[in-house]
């Protein structure tokens, strides 16, 4: 269970309070106006933004003392999810051992995962030689290798076309099924939320509201969401 225990995220004029929890393995869309704090919410889980007050807990343990790399979390950013100077195989290998001293078995695992996401035989390529969709797949492949119980998506597919994005979301779904991960996904698109996430968190006006069922939320949007949806 991921729990926000009376959390206040604050910087300069920005304020965001969070106080709810969500079960392991859930799929949660995070929606809300630009600048409301969707990315900040994810950053707090990933360890890039320390709460001013309160705690973030996973399975009852406080995540506060843990460095980002030590948290049970994989996060995909909007961009820069791969190091451009490293080959795909090495970029993926980082998910298994950050020092890249990979055993033969681990190297085989990388190949298997590449194959799994449809990038078979491309392990020697570098990110600049890839298309946006391929980069997305490779980032997800590493998430699969890391197999952390929380997967945070900070709009990594925002730049992709609708068909490609749908394909990626399908892949995310498959990976979440395989690893049993809790997925929190920032999105602007209600369609994405409806297609992918059973639960949705609305972030607006300084509050990250407790997750509610996506269908219910969109059936009767609260005023803040209505304003956002237009």
């Amino acid at each position: 269970m991921l729990q926000f225990d009376d959390v206040l995220l604050a910087q300069d004029d920005f304020r965001l309070t969070v106080d709810w929890s969500v079960g392991a393995g859930a799929r949660v869309a995070v929606i809300g106006p630009s600048g409301a704090g969707k990315s900040t919410l994810l950053s707090a889980v990933a360890g890039f933004f320390a709460p001013r007050r309160g705690r973030v807990l996973w399975q009852g343990a406080d995540l506060g003392p843990l460095n980002p790399g030590a948290r049970p979390v994989t996060i995909l950013f909007q961009d820069q999810n791969l190091f451009p100077h490293l080959t795909l195989a090495l970029n993926l290998g980082l998910g298994l051992r950050p020092d890249l001293r990979l055993s033969a078995a681990q190297k085989a695992q990388v190949d298997t995962v590449l194959d799994r996401v449809g990038l078979a035989g491309m392990g020697a390529r570098k990110p600049p030689q890839l298309s946006g969709g391929q980069i997305g797949r490779a980032s997800l492949a590493r998430a699969l290798l890391r197999a952390r119980p929380v997967l945070l998506l900070d709009e990594p597919f925002a730049a992709l076309g609708p068909a490609l994005k749908a394909e990626m979301l399908t892949l995310v779904g498959e990976i979440a099924d395989e690893t049993g991960a809790l997925v929190m996904m920032v999105t602007h698109d209600p369609a994405d939320a409806r297609a992918f996430a059973a639960l949705t968190v609305l972030v607006a006006e300084g509050v990250a509201h407790a997750p509610v069922e996506t269908a219910v939320l969109f059936a009767d949007p609260p005023p803040a969401l209505r304003a956002y949806l237009g």
Binding site: F48, F77, F83, P84, L94, D99, P127
Partner: protein
Amino acid sequence: MARGPVAVIGTGAAVCVAALVLLPLGAVLMRASTWPAFAPGDGQAVWFTLWQALVSAVVSCVLAVPVARALARRRFVGREVLITLMGAPFLLPTIVAVMGLIAVFGRSGLANQALAAVGVPPLSVYGAQGVILAHVFLNLPLAVRMVLQGWQAIPAERFRLAESLGFAPAQVTRHLEVPMLRAILPGAFAVIFVICLTSFAVALTLGGGPKATTVELAIYQAVRFDFDLGRAALLAGLQFALCALVAVLVWHVVTQAGFGAGLDRAPVLRAQGVGPLLADGLAIGGTAVFLLLPLGTIAVRGLPGLLELPDAVWAAAGRSVTVALASTGVTVATALALALRVSDARWGAGVIDAVALLPLATSGLVLGTGLFLLVQPWAAPSSLALPVTVAVNVAMSLPFVYRLLLPEARVLRADYGRLSESLGLQGISWLRLVAVPRLARPLGFGAGLAAALSMGDLGVIALFASDQTATLPLVVQRLMGAYRMDTAAGAALLLVVISFGLFWAFDWWGRRYATV
């Protein structure tokens, strides 16, 4: 969120650098027997020092912009070679550089011969114009390289975006190039300003006389000639204050360009039309002639002597290379530690940044004298000549290498800091897999610079030198002192070739490694 060991090493490096600079200064102050006083002419020296450094730095930076832009957006045969060669003047030992400049711009130089051929009366290089000319000759290459790196650091994606938005050239300049220049130029200006601030043999010779007295000359006089350590410390303190002032100003002016990361795709900087083509051709051609002609005369002058150099010259060359390589290793490691520390830290970054630039403001002579005082109770200074030379070389080249690394280290943090952290990539693995490969280009360039600067250094060794530890610049000086001008020219050419060879090798490594 400090990156544990890297942050600790960075802080430790800063402490060492501060000690290396401040302890000798303290030792000199302690030994000063008389209460220092300013002398007549000091005011004029300060004024001239500031004025010429300001003009030299401004001219170098202003000229560097069109040249770097031309080099960034044109592809032609020999471009890489030209870029590397154009870096050479910065690496010249001053005495050699002066000879090369005079062979071109002097009273009987090539330029005046050309003027005479078309009936124009000769122009004199000696005077303020000569000082500026020499300083621009020596430092334009550095400015060009720094600005060129800035252009190359703008991700190709941004230029594509600009193109896709149908930006006119003026808009590209406003939205992409000006922010980059605002980030790069203050640093380039500061570095060149400080180099020119501490110049003295070049300024004196080309300045044509005591009008061109700099503070550094007064320090030299106080240390080597009058043995007035109090005055040396006073003047060193004054010079220090001038440099610190500039450093503080620049610290406030520097902005981050904030282009974000790209995918290492080759930049597509395009310029169409005859006008830009002519302008670029003029910028590249003019700079090449200006920078390469004096180098050519040095080669021509030295070639005969190069073929029959005595053994002592080769032995000294070997020592110089050893010293240069040792200095380079320590310099690059220290600069990297400092740059990573400053780019990361939430606390103390300003202090550490100032420490990294501290040696620039320090007079090498005062530093050498202080080290002598510190070392002498414990060991015979001459037995430590080479280690001390390495230490001083490190101090003197550190700020340059650090300055080259810092902006790119910041970019590295901004673009890949979170990714690294989220993957738990830290410590040695992070250095090996991320920092060194991502910073390979400035690391290689910086290492080349450090090696070449260490080859040419002469200032501090005189107190410590023994015959067994003579370095190549010292041997050049001795040859000239013994009337062997031809042999000296040959040895000087050897010095230039080695300096440049080292620079080229490191720079090449960096560029190659960066693209692998």
